[in-house]
């Protein structure tokens, strides 16, 4: 393979990921509002368009947005009102937020003055800014996805490797255990865990705990895949050869067998992160999600599942569309890493 090209792809993916995580981490700065600020006069406002030329055809060097009014054409929806103009400003002071849970600040990258509102991705049913909620939502969702995926894959590696490498009754017990884990109605465990926790614990902490539980009980699939890889890897000639040279089990596993499974592991991680982020959609339905008013990607998507949202407000799709490049970056990074590992001689 072309090493340079792989290298470039890897760096590209990593930079993209770093940028995305930076946006999410410093959501307070990039987002114009607080994530729970409601504007009850403006539910389901369409995305605000940024203008340079006003209704009279005059050009303005500073971009501006229009205010909103009830749409005369359709009852109950909002449209731009070209009689009210609000200029766009950069580095403005607004609602306060905390950076990395420590420093308090109220500086925002952009905002509009006065009573104007800028909703880059429209507003939701409470008149909250979707763009702000998307940025903030990533904080908990990415954390949840990464934690759960890491837990699943880690357990999966340990159990899958043991089962594949040793075979026999160990294999039998572990793999049947895996089937047991796949079949059990874990939902009830989540209900039970939720019930055991006191109500005054913050909802997002509860959610992180629940998603960790999901991660922990989700080891069976990665384990099965890794076992399959280990099973065939340990019969390869060079492994058999190393064994006859007297290599210990631990050495064989670490040096020869597991490296063969890295590809599968990385693919698994890249697949599992989005899966666990999306798992929240179902959890929300059952009252096990992050909970209002804290935004999360799962709850943003969950609101899209209602037929009236789906069929009436196209901008509610935007969070779903924006998730595509985010998760794509994960897959790209996994692909590139996988290819890079191939070029490293065993």
């Amino acid at each position: 393979m072309n090493t340079m090209k792989t290298q470039r792809k890897l760096w590209g993916a990593l930079i993209l990921l770093a940028g995305l995580h930076g946006l999410v981490l410093f959501a307070g700065f990039f987002a114009p509002y607080s994530s729970s600020a409601q504007d009850r006069e403006l539910p389901f406002a369409p995305p605000t368009r940024i203008h340079f030329i006003d209704a009279q055809g005059t050009f303005h060097a500073r971009p501006f947005v229009y205010g909103l009014k009830d749409d005369p054409k359709t009852f109950g929806s909002l449209a731009a009102d070209s009689t009210q103009m609000y200029p766009l400003h950069f580095f403005v002071r607004g609602s306060s937020y905390k950076v990395a849970c420590m420093f308090e600040s109220n500086l925002h990258l952009f905002g509009v003055s006065g009573t104007g509102r800028i909703f880059l991705m429209g507003s939701d049913g409470y008149g909250r800014d979707q763009f702000t909620r998307f940025l903030y939502g990533g904080q908990i969702s990415l954390a949840a996805g990464l934690i759960a995926a890491a837990l699943s894959v880690l357990l999966g590696i340990i159990i899958g490797a043991l089962a594949g490498f040793y075979g026999g009754w160990i294999d039998d017990v572990l793999m049947r255990g895996g089937e047991l884990f796949l079949a059990l109605p874990w939902l009830y465990l989540l209900f039970a865990v939720r019930a055991a926790l006191p109500l005054h614990i913050a909802q997002w902490q509860v959610f992180l705990l629940l998603i960790a539980v999901i991660g922990l009980v989700g080891w069976a699939r990665p384990a099965r895949l890794i076992r399959g890889m280990v099973l065939s890897a340990k019969e390869r000639n060079f492994v058999v050869a190393a064994r006859t040279f007297g290599a210990s089990d631990a050495y064989l596993l670490r040096r020869h067998v597991l490296p063969q499974t890295y590809g599968v592991i990385l693919t698994q991680v890249a697949l599992l992160v989005p899966q666990y982020v999306l798992a929240e959609v179902t959890l929300t339905f059952l009252g096990l999600g992050v909970g209002e008013p804290m935004p999360s990607w799962g709850s943003l998507l969950a609101s899209l599942q209602q037929y009236y949202v789906l069929s009436s407000y196209w901008w509610m799709f935007l969070p779903a569309l924006l998730l595509v490049p985010v998760f794509l970056a994960y897959y790209m990074a996994a692909d590139a890493l996988q290819e890079r590992l191939k070029t490293v001689p065993l």
């Binding site: 047991l180 109605p185 039970a192 599942q305 794509l328």
Partner: protein
């Protein structure tokens, strides 16, 4: 043969364990079937207590499990509070419908995934591969429910497909050919939806297994010998990659089953899904355990099938 009996024995043991664990899990969860009744202002607490006692809810867990196990062995699979009847008759017709849907969807998904996965592995890094990678990733980022809803929206807007159900209401009056057509168009959307949501994982796994195989030394050697590309792909690389794919087939059954719950609720498919969701929310314990047991049987059967296939196809495992 000995291998098979051993596996079957394990499967029975596994099912028994699943039943114990799921029974226990259900007891841990807060709330029970009769609590919801107590919120009705017209029903007195005494009536609810009477019902609880009647259905043996006051007895300790092991006793209730014992009762359930006895009834399961009898073929009743426990007793549903809400339907006031044994669970087994509720399950059979619905299980048949679910199985029909999922097997057609599985077939469809593999028929689509195999050429896509193999094709993109063969053309790695090229335009087609990237498009395929992008497409599957994009699909992965969309929750299942949304896929089904968009398909449904399509059906409403175009009117080409029915928006739910398994057959039309006046099905009986149709001729044979219209019956066939009716069934096919009712299957189309849910099966397509299920295939779409399971497709990306399949394609990615097929692709990575194929890439793995294509890069192994023997294929490189074969390529060096000038074996034609297509022959190389299907005659040499695919068999080498089949090992993880067979495992994948085994538990794509499980993925299908869990995805089918949602599709059945959205598209009102008369399968296990709606029954299950209702039972979960109303805490109709025996129905939930019944559905769990049934899907475990499917799951175990899927894995068993995969293991047997592996056993047949991979001599290395057979030697063990």
């Amino acid at each position: 043969m000995r291998y098979l009996t051993r596996r079957l024995l394990h499967a029975m043991l596994l099912l028994a364990t699943i039943s114990i664990f799921s029974f226990a899990l259900l007891q841990w969860a807060p709330g029970n079937f009769f609590d919801a009744m107590r919120l009705d202002p017209r029903v007195s607490a005494q009536t609810v207590d009477g019902l609880r006692a009647k259905y043996g809810m006051n007895r300790p867990l092991p006793v209730r499990y014992g009762q359930w196990a006895f009834s399961a062995l009898k073929g009743d699979m426990g007793f549903s509070f809400s339907y006031n009847s044994p669970v087994a008759p509720l399950l059979w017709t619905r299980a048949r419908n679910t199985l029909l849907l999922t097997s057609i969807a599985t077939l469809l998904a593999w028929l689509l995934a195999l050429p896509l996965g193999i094709g993109s592995a063969a053309n790695r890094g090229k335009w087609g591969d990237r498009a395929c990678g992008f497409g599957t990733s994009a699909l992965l980022t969309v929750p299942d429910l949304l896929v089904f809803l968009v398909l449904l929206l399509l059906a409403v807007r175009t009117g080409w497909f029915p928006t739910g159900g398994m057959i039309s209401t006046n099905f009986d009056s149709f001729s044979f050919w219209s019956k066939l057509k009716d069934v096919v168009i009712h299957f189309a959307l849910p099966a397509l939806g299920l295939a779409i949501v399971t497709l990306p994982v399949l394609v990615r796994h097929i692709r990575s297994a194929m890439v793995e195989a294509l890069e192994s030394p023997f294929i490189r050697a074969a390529r060096g010998h000038g074996i034609p590309h297509i022959r190389l792909l299907f005659r040499y690389a695919l068999p080498a990659a089949s090992n993880p794919l067979i495992s994948l087939l085994g538990f794509s059954v499980a993925t299908m089953l869990s995805a089918s719950v949602i599709v059945e609720v959205i598209m009102s498919w008369p399968g296990l899904g709606p029954l299950m969701v209702q039972a979960i929310l109303s805490r109709d314990v025996d129905v939930v355990v019944g559905v769990v047991m049934l899907s475990s049987v499917f799951l175990v059967a899927g894995n068993l099938l995969a293991d047997v296939l592996l056993f047949v196809s991979d001599p290395r495992i057979r030697v063990e």
